[in-house]
């Protein structure tokens, strides 16, 4: 429809009012000065550069771990005794600690130091580092990582991400790192104070495609120079080590960037949910990274790197969706309306049974993709289908869970509104994690 006189008048008025507001607040913000604005008002250089990463005991070749055991040629949904034991301790931690602190983590936009300390007692980081490098891992099991992610997110998704981000960096270095990279960085994860580390893949743009990052890495002699902006980076402000996805002349790659590098700055970027993960934006303004810090030792598979992150998000979504289902069942049985529990009505009961059906549908696709990844089979199709299903169904479970609680569900009195916000991250987030 063409603009008429009234339309032009309203538009002009809008301009006037808008500029007045901007001037009063002093935050005039246009496309030209956006970087100036960001750097002045909120971005800060990363100060956590105290840690020196040094390659003290050079390795001859990278330490790679095998998948656990030999796989029998039988369809089998059972988990191992070891996985069952790990799950039990993780589930207890998620129930007793993460769930209790869910609301606080959301409000404070971060995970409590004490919680991280308690989480470290689970030994997740240590079990991500090979024995030969001082860790405790004799095998590498994405399936176990998937189950751990699911169980942590059953407690709280935001805190789960904060706990898993450093573990994910260790997983990635174990799976892909060169001898130099493992000797310099991975060994640190086996120490008493493993580095705060995180993975930066997503970028602040609609329809972001992780296979085509706008962030660039240009080769300059024995360095790469990184330029671009990353978003939804867990632990962005605290991290001492980053894995950053960037486009090179020969396709997308991942670069190990130390906190404190010149040109690296970070800003808080609070979002709708998963706030306890401390997500932020990362700006790389000509950050120089040694060529040796390009992740990989000849066997690097960028797509698999991205997909193992995507599948971690699927696992988190499953855990939070399970929390939602477990919460609405007793609620629907206890809440009465018209003289009987609301669960006695098909309109409510069928919402809940559908949540259960779709939750298991999500689980089957995610499990299948991760099992294939663990067995070294191609899994890009399976990861793609899992993400496609999970992002829709998890959000469906999120919105229907709030619906069951009605007005109650919309308030902070109940955790379901937070889970609703957390679950929207599914389908948006890339990177951050690595099974």
């Amino acid at each position: 429809m063409a603009r008429d006189a009234m339309g032009y008048a309203l538009s002009a008025l809008n301009h006037l009012a808008g500029s007045g507001v901007l001037d009063r607040l002093g935050v005039r913000r246009t496309a030209e000065n956006i970087s100036y604005y960001l750097s002045r008002s909120s971005f800060s250089a990363i100060s956590t550069s105290a840690r020196q990463f040094r390659n003290l005991n050079p390795l001859k070749r990278p330490q790679r771990l095998q998948a656990p055991g030999e796989t029998r040629d039988l369809f089998d949904l059972n988990i191992t005794d070891e996985q069952r034991m790990i799950r039990e301790s993780v589930q207890e931690f998620a129930r007793e600690v993460l769930r209790e602190r869910g609301e606080a983590g959301d409000a404070e936009q971060g995970i409590a130091a004490g919680t991280l300390e308690q989480a470290s007692e689970l030994g997740l980081t240590l079990f991500a580092v090979p024995e030969a490098l001082g860790g405790a891992a004799t095998e590498r099991s994405p399936v176990t990582s998937m189950l751990v992610a699911e169980d942590l997110a059953h407690g709280d998704m935001g805190q789960a991400i904060a706990i898993l981000a450093p573990v994910s960096v260790a997983n990635a270095l174990t799976q892909w790192g060169s001898a130099h990279q493992q000797g310099t960085y991975l060994v640190e994860f086996a120490g008493d104070h493993p580095p705060v580390a995180t993975i930066a893949v997503s970028e602040p743009a609609p329809l972001f495609d992780p296979l085509r990052p706008a962030c660039t890495a240009s080769r300059r002699g024995d360095h790469y120079v990184l330029k671009g902006t990353k978003s939804l980076v867990p632990l962005a402000a605290q991290a001492e080590l980053f894995l950053v996805a960037a486009m090179t002349d020969d396709g997308p790659g991942v670069f190990i960037v130390e906190g404190g590098s010149e040109g690296l700055s970070v800003a808080a970027d609070p979002a709708m949910g998963i706030r306890a993960s401390g997500q932020g934006r990362l700006v790389l303004d000509g950050v120089k990274v040694p060529a040796d810090n390009r992740l990989g030792a000849g066997d690097f598979d960028y797509r698999a790197f991205v997909d193992l992150g995507t599948l971690a998000w699927c696992s988190l979504a499953i855990g939070t969706s399970q929390a939602m289902l477990d919460y609405v069942i007793p609620y629907a049985n206890e809440r009465t309306a018209f003289g009987e529990p609301i669960s006695h009505r098909q309109g409510v009961a069928f919402l809940i049974s559908d949540m259960a059906i779709e939750l298991d549908a999500m689980r089957m696709l995610t499990w299948r993709a991760v099992c294939r990844a663990e067995q070294g089979l191609p899994f890009r199709r399976e990861a793609h289908l899992a993400r496609t299903l999970v992002k829709d169904k998890a959000m469906g479970i999120g919105t229907n869970g709030v619906q069951v609680l009605g007005g109650h569900g919309y308030t902070h009195e109940y955790p379901v509104e937070r889970w609703y916000r957390d679950l929207r991250a599914t389908g948006i987030a890339f990177g951050g994690l690595h099974l």
């Binding site: 296979l211 809940i352 298991d360 089957m364 299948r368 890009r380 289908l385 496609t388 299903l389």
Partner: protein, 401 residues
């Protein structure tokens, strides 16, 4: 944990696929147009399938072998006949659902016999094609409301009542009939009886004309003072109110994954054909995030993801049956999911193919009609939801009605 289909099922899947592509597809349209005409091509095929079953029961594709179990692998995990039957049904229904339902000696009645019959009964009914008769004019999903009666007289039961929607009811050798020993005793009094065609008092009332699965006969059968030997009662003749309906219903734990498998097979047929028709219009490389491609690419990815989840939910339920794990909820889940997904995919594929999809030139419109029954029989999606919801919420059938 391992979510791959073991190699030992490869020949079964391949054989079933050959039947689907080589035997079913070429005659699919003909028998859709000639409703009630018996597909003679299937008689010889059934003999071949019998050969498969006898040679390797745990790896055979017939409904008659649900309930049996394959050899246990290390640590006692089984991938047995329930899984095999589901995988076979997926392939056969990739060919044609109605023709699969018309395969002699592979009826749902055979599954019931296999699930609850004594060894003596299994031997006596061996080689017989058995249909299943549950529904009545006054009771559909509400099996507890069955009004057909079975009155004990000496060594016989006397059956009176009317059964409808009996799949393969006319063509089968016998019918497994659900009837009540005492209408005042509720569900616990409902028993199933094998009634052979030719028994006096058993009469074919009519054959239905249907929306789809037209190659499969759907019979209405009338029973008037029909005398059945007492030893044709399946399971216990006692009315055990503590067990309630459980005995009769346990058949469903094996047959619901089978019907889910049919929906999975039918859905795959439509999705594959649509991909062929759209080959020049889409680029399906699983590279771009689903929302970054064209609308039709996104829709195909969504259909494939939904389809794949229905597939694995079905395999899970069958795996649990093979391993003697209680699977009522999971059987209902896969039935509900596969039923609705199969129907949605076939209808959507017909739509996306335009007039080609709607025309009888393609089979897409037929699959879109066939798939609807798979969301209805063996328990509608709504009945599956009731079963799942009652179990999750811990509610009785009087609380959640």
């Amino acid at each position: 944990m391992n979510l791959e289909i073991p190699k030992k099922f490869r020949s079964l899947v391949n054989n079933a696929h050959q039947v689907a592509a080589g035997t079913f597809r070429p005659i699919s349209r003909y028998y859709d147009r000639h409703e009630h005409e018996r597909p003679r091509e299937l008689d010889m095929l059934a003999s071949i399938l019998d050969g498969f079953n006898e040679g390797d029961p745990s790896n055979s594709a017939g409904a008659a072998t649900t309930g049996a179990n394959g050899e246990a692998g290390a640590e006692g995990v089984r991938n047995g006949s329930n899984m095999g039957v589901c995988l076979g049904a997926m392939e056969l229904c990739y060919g044609d659902v109605a023709l699969m339902l018309s395969l002699p000696r592979q009826g749902l009645g055979n599954a019931a016999i296999s699930a609850v019959a004594t060894d003596e009964q299994k031997q006596r009914f061996d080689g017989k094609w058995a249909a299943m008769a549950i529904t009545e004019p006054g009771c559909g999903s509400d099996s507890g409301a069955i009004r057909t009666t079975a009155r004990r007289e000496g060594d016989e039961y006397v059956l009176n009542g009317e059964k409808i929607y009996v799949t393969a009811g006319e063509r089968a050798d016998c019918v497994v009939v659900w009837a009540t020993l005492d209408p005042s005793m509720g569900k616990a009094a409902i028993k199933s009886f094998v009634v052979e065609w030719g028994t006096p008092g058993m009469e074919l009332a009519r054959l239905e004309k249907k929306l789809g699965i037209r190659a499969s006969d759907t019979a209405a059968i009338h029973f008037q003072d029909c005398r059945v030997p007492a030893e044709n009662l399946l399971g216990s003749p006692e009315i055990d109110t503590s067990k309630g309906f459980a005995g009769a219903m346990q058949t469903f734990d094996n047959t619901r994954p089978l019907v889910a498998a049919m929906a999975v097979g039918c859905g795959r047929a439509a999705l594959e054909r649509l991909k062929e028709l759209l080959a020049d219009h889409v680029n399906l490389d699983y590279d771009q995030p689903v929302d970054n491609g064209s609308a039709v690419e996104a829709e195909i990815y969504r259909m494939e993801a939904e389809w794949e989840s229905a597939y694995w939910l079905t395999v899970r339920a069958a795996w649990m049956a093979d391993n003697h794990q209680p699977n009522s909820v999971q059987a209902s889940m896969c039935k509900a999911k596969a039923g609705r997904v199969g129907n949605w995919i076939t209808l959507r594929c017909a739509e996306l193919a335009g007039t080609l999809g709607y025309s009888e030139e393609e089979l897409l419109e037929k699959w879109a009609r066939d798939s609807k029954i798979l969301d209805i029989f063996e328990g509608t999606q709504q009945i599956q939801n009731l079963i799942i919801a009652r179990r999750l919420l811990g509610l009785s059938s009087s609380e959640l009605r």
